[in-house]
């Protein structure tokens, strides 16, 4: 059942990314472009997505376990470290450069053409080397 629920969740996510136009790199860059012809669409997408998600978080304390069993995720320790800042900045720069983030990059694979496959391949390569970079970063911090 877990896989079925995950498929439904992924389907809703993919459909939402598609109809909202978030796989259009111009719309994403247009939202980031505050000095140009600003496109507000992404703000509506974010706002729209946060509403059902906030309701879901509010429901969590009322339920003992998730529908498929297991446990709800723990609240992460509110630790804002170097990796969060460096990672988010690096991600944001890449996001602005191409106008794609991980979700839309996957959602657009079937119609975006070769460039989207190249983007996803590069992204996966980055994800594969990231754990090594993370431990290297940790080592340097520990040494200083």
């Amino acid at each position: 059942m877990r896989a079925v629920y995950a498929f439904v969740a992924g389907g809703l996510f993919g459909a939402g990314l598609f109809v909202s136009g978030m796989t259009d790199t111009l719309k994403v860059q247009g939202w980031l472009d505050v000095f140009g012809d600003w496109d507000p669409t992404l703000a509506f997408v974010m706002g729209g997505a946060i509403i059902p998600m906030a309701i879901a978080w509010a429901l969590v304390p009322r339920r003992l376990t998730p529908l498929a069993g297991g446990a709800f995720p723990n609240r992460p320790t509110p630790q804002v470290g170097r990796e969060l800042i460096i990672g988010s900045t690096l991600f944001g720069a890449g996001w602005g450069l191409a106008g794609l983030c991980p979700g839309p990059a996957i959602a657009s694979l079937s119609y975006g053409g070769a460039a989207h496959w190249v983007f996803v391949a590069a992204m996966l390569a980055g994800m594969v080397v990231a754990p090594g970079l993370r431990s290297e970063l940790d080592r340097r911090v520990a040494r200083d």
């Binding site: 993919g14 990314l17 983030c101 079937s110």
Partner: protein
Amino acid sequence: MEQDWIWGLIGGLLIGTGGAVYLLANGRVMGASGILGGLVDGSERHHWRERTAFLVGVLLLPVLLYPLYGTVDTHITESWPVIIVAGVMVGIGTRLANGCTSGHGVCGISRLSLRGIVSTVFYILAGGLTVAVFRHLLEWI
């Protein structure tokens, strides 16, 4: 074009509903980079079935909806070096930060997570600055 915001809102509600299903049914935070990254770097070999099922859903629904639209242009840059550099940055960055627009943005902000909010502020600032440099500053110089 004037209806873009309505479709944005509808799409956003769908995205958030997907996240709600993933949380309430599977007890997991819906983050695209985490679901994908955990599969490719081998850190989350367990749960591979639900992760794969999620990704199949993300890929498949646009395939089913596409015929209703006819054509969808993603307007991606034609510069492959830019695409590759951007992809690597997104891959490394989201894994270092442990999240992207869906995990930190949608799921983090909606539970008022400090990490999610801080991450979102930084990636939007970095994204905005990058677009400003490439769209305006370089042309202006």
